[in-house]
């Protein structure tokens, strides 16, 4: 019976692995985009209420189309005027329950305007309140 020759130590060729790794790195470097998310966090208390019965001293902002109507006197403001008016309210010194700002917006208001108003309220330390009317699916 012929004796089997002892086999040489088997070593897989790993040379191409480094090429694959380098190609993968190039792929990751080219496809990665670093995204810095910007925005603001809000905690929105929800409730069901009639806006007409709101506290007289409560700050209200009405949005219709591209118009911003502020406060009980229903003055038309620009976004800069609204920012200044909200800062004058000095929410920081007030009790959390007195910081609520009611935003009533009509269905034709764009998110661009709504976002600017909400951010102005948040930066003035106000608390945004959504009004959910009875029988309606969304805030007005």
């Amino acid at each position: 019976m012929p004796l089997r020759k002892p086999r040489d130590n088997f070593e897989p060729d790993v040379t191409s692995f480094s090429d694959i790794a380098t190609l993968l790195i190039i792929f990751f470097i080219l496809t990665t985009t670093f995204v810095a998310t910007t925005g603001s966090k809000l905690e929105i208390p929800s409730g069901s209420a009639d806006p007409s019965q709101a506290d007289e001293k409560q700050v209200t902002v009405n949005l219709a189309g591209s118009r911003i109507i502020f406060g009980p006197r229903e003055q038309e403001f620009s976004i800069e005027q609204l920012r200044a008016a909200l800062l004058r309210e000095n929410f920081k010194a007030k009790d959390p329950s007195k910081r609520i700002v009611i935003v009533n917006s009509k269905p034709d208001v764009t998110y661009e305007l709504y976002y600017e108003v909400v951010m102005a309220i948040a930066s003035a330390d106000g608390v945004l309140a959504l009004i959910e009317e009875e029988g309606k699916g969304g805030p007005e």
């Binding site: 790195i25 998310t37 925005g39 905690e43 929105i44 998110y111 969304g138």
Partner: protein
């Protein structure tokens, strides 16, 4: 006369560790990469000067320019948004929800989204872009 040949030394750069480095870099990229779930959704974010950089959250809700709603990059009707967000909040033990809405969407579309998130008890992180004052 025998001419003595000069012995040349071959310069060899050890490249064995290069492959190890390459693999380590790959592992680094794989671990740190966070793939955008809504890459296919067309959204132009609203702008405001009052915003700051914020930390990304695990839960994301997006509304595209046509009013289509996406939860974690998948289409989601507004009536099931509240339940879906509640489930994800439990899963991730996190209250913060990243909300991204196209700037041209009207209130009749985005209003119910705010209400659903508010009812779910979420902390809304409104995504936007910085506008110069």
């Amino acid at each position: 006369m025998s001419i003595r040949r000069r012995r040349h030394l071959r310069a060899l750069i050890p490249t064995t560790s290069m492959a190890d480095l390459a693999f380590l870099l790959n592992i680094f990229f794989m671990v740190t990469s966070n793939f955008i779930k809504e890459a296919h959704v067309e959204v132009t974010p609203a702008a405001s000067p009052d915003i700051e950089p914020m930390k990304e959250t695990h839960i994301s809700v997006t509304m595209d320019r046509y009013g289509g709603l996406w939860l974690q990059g998948k289409p989601c009707p507004v009536d099931v948004l509240e339940a879906g967000v509640r489930e994800l909040m439990l899963e991730h033990s996190e209250k913060a929800v990243m909300l991204k809405i196209d700037r041209d969407v009207r209130q009749e579309k985005f209003g119910p989204v705010f209400l659903a998130l508010s009812r779910a008890g979420a902390e809304i992180a409104l995504v936007g872009q910085k506008e110069k004052e």
